[in-house]
Amino acid sequence: MTDPSSAYEVVIGLEVHAQLRTRSKMFCGCPTDFGAPPNSQTCPVCQGMPGSLPVINRRAVEFGVRTALAFHCRVNAGCRFARKHYYYPDMPKNYQISQYEEPLAEDGWLELEAFGQPRRIAIQRLHLEEDVGRLVHEGTLETARASLVDFNRSGVPLMETVSQPDVRSPEEAAAYLRAFRAILLYLGVCDGNMEEGSLRCDANISLRRRGAPDLGTKVEIKNLNSFKNVQRALEFEALRQREALDRGERILQETRLWDADGGRTRVMRGKEQAHDYRYFPEPDLVPLELSRESVEAARAGLPELPAARRERFVREHGLPAYDADLLTQTRALADYYEAAVREAPHPKLVSNWIMSELLREIPADDERALAASPIPPRHLAGLLRLVADGTITGKIAKDVFEKMLRSGEDALTIVAREGLTQVADAAALGAVVDEVLRANPKAVEDWRRGKKAAAGALVGQVMKATQGKANPSVVNSLLEAKLSQL
């Protein structure tokens, strides 16, 4: 779809729903913990009991404001909640308290990198609303004799962010979501878990002839529960639309569901079945006013965001852009890196070890796993200090790393106990080298005949004899000297 020779341009807009990590719900005091027994975290308000009334969660508003500022939005001095009506059994009031004409914030942008180029995607609006409950069907939805409803999730704060139709390819959509998620994680407002539904995405996609001023008819795709699925669904849909247009067909305005197993989108409802949400201002809540001071205080309290941190890692630590980009994916990972570098001031060495060793064990975007890592940054720094000052060899360090991972011990403890300290003493190593030369006459002979690669095998023998503790460069120079004397 990114093929510039294609006759069509892909136009994508994204709507992201993020569950906010507040302790209590959007409009009542119930806890928001995931996985509690059904309906154990409910009250008259989030069950939609007659006579109950909502009260705005100030913390959720704060989270919304922080995010809006991170997205460079204008935070409105006054905003209102509105009722959005539709019937569904998981929604206790049969209306959702959301925001409509007067959202929390508008007109921002998000910067991302696509195909090596920085891109700015405009953000139209950001608003707060409440989540719905969850239905549990006996069997499948089609065959169920009964369905049960769990209102634990009902009323959990959601933040909806709507982009302008500025995204130009499925890859760019995935990049947008990655950048989006990174910012939420940095702000600490959402745990970013797409599989658990803390972050949900709907995408609008249309095609238009390259250079055409007007947008084509858009299709909304729902049920996108991972970055990969967002990209796959959009790729499928762009192709489907292009083929339809090539056949001279018209694109119908409709909502389609992504079927990840089938790898295709399917019609969910057409334009005729679109809901009439009958929005009107929520009369149970007074308009929310945000003072300029409170917004400025929130702005001053913003943490360093991924882009700025990435730039600093390149500028101050001298890291390659690739490393800086990877390390700043999540706040937790960047914090990990910085904590390690503080105690082992060798940025590239630390970066290499995080990227090649640590991230092999722990997914880069799993904050929880990173926080629970058996190798805390202090331990990694300790290990790398031993490497940097020549106490242990890189080879030994990898074994020590494995042991640290299993035992949670620090490097020095393991190295001391197992006697892994590098041997760099020429006299001690000279004896080993002599022994190896004596024991491998064939290799020596090869070398003499000009097969210089035979030296490598001899180094390997020395390392083996010293259980990897020999300093490789000392071994090399000793070997070279002794071979030429033979």
Binding site: G51, Y87, R278, D284, V286
Partner: protein, 485 residues
């Protein structure tokens, strides 16, 4: 007879030891058993609960430590206020078996003040309509003439107080549903300023209009009960953080020099001449007490009714959406799927008047009509508010009839439009969020009570109560009792 006493007279007896809360509660329960079968003011009576609360109040009075100046007073509440563990139906089939798991804030406050709750009064179905005929279960009668309606939708509360079946009662007022039945039953009915009393636990009809208020035997009692239930509630974001004054202490002050506005638009062609005469006479009484009456104009009044019948149904259609058979209340049997369950449940559970309003409201909010109906109605609402603002720049309180008519016979007003017109003088007050009070100001030749309405500035219940009290003290209307055993 204890049941004839006002709350303040009854409490004086508790204080002096001449009577006990238990004796009062038993007297009321006995009278309910004897008289309510003909008046039908109660949907649910809770004798055990009442007697237990009364016994606790006995002990407090004996120890000389009452909780408040209404401690031990037997009070009834409209069946639209959630009371933990007590069936709350809203007078509707759809909530026939609903037992709330929580108390409305006003119920908590009444109980914290020591009130003895006797039971629940039937509202018209979903607090809709000018008469309590629309209750799904039975029709409440007007104690002054059992063939007539007590008004609605808090007609049950008005009838209970008028018939001495409760010392005071709570109702709710959306478009006049406290003041109109107060006028019809000759009781004092007060709709406080929007935001004065918490709506938490009031089953919502039209959220931006609903307000809870007291029915009482006289103005002092209305002030006493209001003081207990008023004040900011963190559970209701629309409740106002405004000080709650001691209204009773203010009541004695003379009304010398009080500027009374008499709105031209509230004396209309076609209103009952007996009502008009009684209200005009009442204004003369107020003038003799030192009030200075002057004509005012509230020109948006003509459009207020139309605006109300868009805004109220729009909000109602939304508030009533939750009654779907999924969670509580009744659920229709034999549904094929969830949509069918919704349809059947709502078709069976709601009465025709409610359905009419849900349809009106849904239409007014629907795409393509939203701006023309709901949007326009909001603009009218602003104009109504401005009318009052302008009037209150010149006058301190507005006096007017509460209703254009006398209580009508059961089944008399079949035409919904004619019924809607009955709310002409009460609706603008809700649209503007102002306090309004109805007090008895005479009787028709046939012996039916007539209501005088006072309308005040936002949060100025003090002036309403003072003016109404002065009027009440200067006349003898309060002495008359309905022709009941």
């Amino acid at each position: 007879m204890l049941t004839q006493l006002t709350v303040h007279a009854l409490v004086e007896q508790f204080r002096g030891g001449a009577a006990t809360p238990s004796a009062a509660a038993r007297a009321y329960l006995d009278r309910i058993a004897a008289v309510d079968p003909s008046v039908r003011a109660y949907l649910t009576v809770t004798p055990e609960r009442a007697l237990a609360a009364a016994a606790a109040a006995d002990a407090r009075w004996r120890a000389g430590r009452p909780l408040s100046s209404i401690d031990g007073a037997p009070i009834a509440v409209k069946d639209l206020l959630c009371t933990k563990g007590v069936r709350t139906t809203c007078g509707s089939r759809i909530l026939e078996h609903f037992v709330p798991p929580y108390d409305a804030t006003v119920i908590e406050r009444l109980e914290a003040a020591g009130a003895v709750l006797l039971g629940n009064e039937p509202p018209g179905t979903r607090a809709m309509g000018s008469s309590t005929e629309h209750s799904a279960f039975f029709a409440t009668r007007n104690p002054w003439d059992l063939a007539r309606v007590p008004g609605g939708s808090s007609g049950g509360s008005g009838a209970a107080v008028a018939a001495d079946l409760a010392a005071a009662a709570l109702g709710s007022d959306t478009g006049g549903s406290i003041r109109q039945p107060a006028a019809f039953t000759g009781t004092v009915g007060l709709k406080p300023t929007y935001g004065r009393v918490s709506r938490y636990g009031l089953v919502a009809f039209a959220s931006s209009l609903d307000q809870i208020g007291p029915f009482a035997k006289d103005v002092v009692d209305a002030a006493l009960v209001l003081r207990v239930i008023a004040g900011r509630d963190p559970l209701d974001s629309t409740s106002a953080d405004v000080p709650v004054p001691d209204w009773v202490a203010e009541l004695g002050r003379p009304i010398e020099g009080l500027r009374l506005g008499v709105p031209r638009e509230y004396f209309v062609e076609g209103m009952d001449p007996e009502v008009e005469a009684a209200v005009r006479e009442a204004i003369e009484v107020l003038k003799r007490l030192g009030g200075r009456a002057e004509p005012i104009s509230l020109p948006a009044t003509d459009y207020a009714l139309a605006a109300y019948y868009l805004i109220a149904p729009a909000e109602a259609s939304s508030n009533l959406a939750r009654y779907d058979g999924v969670k509580y209340g009744s659920r229709a049997a034999g549904a094929r799927d969830v949509i069918d369950m919704y349809s059947k449940t709502r078709a069976e559970g709601f009465g025709p008047e409610v359905k009419r309003r849900i349809m009106l409201g849904t239409y007014a909010l629907s795409a393509g009509y939203h701006e023309a109906y709901y949007g326009k109605a909001q603009k009218v609402r602003t104009l109504v508010r401005r009318d009052f603002d302008a009037a209150f720049a010149r006058v301190d309180v507005i006096v007017a009839p509460t209703t254009p008519n006398l209580p009508f016979k059961l089944g008399e007003k079949e035409d919904p439009l004619a019924m809607y017109l009955n709310d002409l003088f009460t609706i603008p007050v809700n649209l503007a969020g102002l306090p309004g009070l109805s007090v008895r100001c005479g009787f028709s030749l046939a012996g039916l009570p007539i209501g005088l309405q006072f309308i005040g500035r936002p949060f100025d219940e003090a002036t309403l109560l003072r003016a109404a009290h002065a009027y009440e003290q200067a006349t003898r209307w309060q002495a008359r009792r309905p022709p009941l055993p």
